[in-house]
Symmetry: C2
Subunit: 384 residues, 2 copies
């Protein structure tokens, strides 16, 4: 790799020793860097809980997906972000009676892709879940036609074509297959399939937003963590915590570069700062809906203490709870919910997107929620 | 197929119009018939809830499997049955972090196979379940070494070997794959992969026990029904009920031939006849343990009414509840539990096997439970 190529190598695939290559090593040579411009903020839109692919055998489901397309298009056209983060539950795989869910995942990316905006994704608890057969399909009403290739299944020689049969079992598309399809099919994707020694957890990686002055100089680090669910428990493992610690000490040893965390399921610490539902959201918390209890990760294996120990970490962003959109301070950082963006998934609260806007020098980070109808609310400064 | 071959064709694969071929059509030409002898009873042993493959990463799990081998060997050597029925939950797939569970299924068959005794199987709710990752594997203790082929996974060309990756996801071995492996690998297996139009339900078929006088003449029909669970709800569907009705009216239109039903999960009707736990088991019920509530199928889509309408149906046998081993009358038939045979699965009640013994002329069916330690109890006449 020559020097010019090195200069362009701006997406850092920070893989563990175990040998994660980072799918981006080769493609990223030609990828536009994530980078501050000299005179404007770096803006990120969070698309949380889109839940594409629900009830595809009815009219209702596809109509919701159209609605979700519309929300994202509206937000993108109003905010024109530099980057988009798909914050998990991109699809509702437990509602998808198909063998390969990557088509629905790809559909969720299309509004962003068609505008030439780069993005990345983390997994939620619905993304690789196996299909849950509705009980009523076993009643007299019967099973609707589902996408299943029986024509390929031959019993004539007494042998069964296992590949064809497994296509009819809807056991969920694996995290690795989903993220691989996203990366391989999209030059604009900054997602990375994380270190193999962290499996079954997959979406664990770091992206660098570079300085406007020097593309090699990091200005902000964005950490993405797979908070589990679907095919395995809803946890951030001790192994992930140790991986985070190693990475952060390596790339930002003196904690001088601001850092931000993104995951799907809130940690148990969110419960500690959650406003009481009956009192609404009051300062220092900022937000507009507080309609349910925090549904946190199943266990806390140490990563929150690591976050708190690093003054460089400014904020942690989660989705998962569609009825919560607040930010609250927790020790030296902020714990924030995104905003339910998709028409899929539970809840009828109006849809929107949490926007982050960062400046480089001096560093600042502020956030607000942009609604589908164009309104904007819940402005908060997260760097104070 | 010539006349001599026809004469030997005694296992009837009673498939629906949809095109189930029945894996046995070809192999069964050479298979010994299930048939009454002129002077002795036809005896069946029920092996219920063996739950092979639990906690294979500890010493405890493999030791339980050894114990289950010992139970079956003891029962087979004491009773010398003509046929064995594996009544579901042969394996605990949700405890199996391996890609292909057929090895554990095969292990469960070995005691019977090594004695040259024919058998068949139905599915329980644990047999095709996806692996449930233990939460503690995500703590500092970490994930034990599990059988997963990372060496085959190549990222070098930017493409992922999906087949290799899916081997590390432990999404459960499909019912069709399990039953196909059993059938293809064992000439003694009488299992049949049921009609495809009943999927995801698979183990639906009928076996004929022929008369001692004429191998073409049916003396008893044994019906096997997949009561679901694992990858889909715990139900016997309306489609299965209709299939049962069509089959029974076709092969036994005047209900003159005795019929017996086998499935894993008891129907809701079992709850209606269950003895009250505090009062023990009293006549007309017969049994020795009544230690828990009946855990029935999720819904009743009509098959129990069909059973009751057929005077030919003498008894229905279920597993699933390890703490129940009674038979109780229900209208014109008997509802029976088997006996927990395996050391896998919950409960420490002593292990055993329910035995059925039938005579042809006059037809009679009696049953008892043979324990691992050689004792025998709970004798009941089911044809009265």
């Amino acid at each position: 790799m020559g020097t010019p190529a090195l200069l362009l190598f701006l997406v850092i695939a920070l893989a563990a020793k175990s040998g994660c290559r980072g799918h981006h090593e080769a493609p990223s040579l030609w990828q536009s860097p994530l980078r501050f411009s000299a005179d404007s903020a770096f803006k990120i839109a969070l698309f949380a809980d889109l839940h594409y692919g629900e009830n595809a055998w009815t009219d209702w489901g596809p109509a919701q997906d159209d609605n979700s397309d519309r929300v994202m298009s509206a937000v993108l056209d109003m905010e024109i972000p530099d980057f988009v983060i798909y914050l998990g539950d991109v699809i509702t795989a437990n509602n998808l009676p198909i063998a390969n869910a990557t088509l629905y995942w790809d559909r969720a990316l299309s509004s962003t892709r068609s505008r030439g905006i780069p993005w990345c994704s983390v997994f939620g608890n619905h993304d690789d879940a196996p299909f849950e057969w509705p009980s009523e399909w076993f009643s007299a009403a019967g099973i609707p036609q589902v996408i299943c290739p029986p024509a390929n299944i031959s019993f004539s020689d007494g042998e069964v074509d296992d590949a064809a049969l497994s296509d009819c079992n809807f056991k969920g598309t694996t995290r690795v297959k989903l993220i691989s399809a996203e990366i391989n099919d999209n030059g604009l994707s900054y997602s990375i399939s994380g270190p193999k020694n962290l499996w079954p957890s997959v979406s664990n990686y770091v992206l660098q937003v570079s300085s406007s002055k020097d593309p090699k100089l990091p200005a902000v680090f964005l950490y993405f963590l797979d908070s589990g669910g679907g095919s395995y428990p809803e946890v951030v493992s001790n192994a992930q915590a140790e991986w985070f610690l190693r990475q952060s000490l390596k790339i930002n040893p003196d904690a001088s570069i601001p850092e931000i965390i993104f995951w799907h399921i809130p940690s148990t610490a969110y419960k500690k700062v959650a406003p009481m539902p009956i009192f609404g959201i009051h300062k220092p918390c900022v937000g507009s809906i507080n309609k349910e209890r925090v549904a946190p990760q199943e266990a806390e294996w140490g990563i929150m203490d690591m976050f708190v120990d690093r003054p460089s970490i400014k904020a942690v962003f989660a989705g998962h709870n569609h009825g919560l959109d607040w930010c609250c301070p927790y020790k030296n950082l902020w714990l924030c919910f995104a905003r339910h963006t998709g028409y899929g998934g539970y809840g009828d609260w109006p849809r929107g997107s949490r926007i982050l806007s960062m400046t480089e020098q001096p560093f600042s980070i502020e956030s607000w929620i942009r609604m589908e109808d164009g309104t904007k609310h819940s402005h908060v400064i997260l760097s104070s």
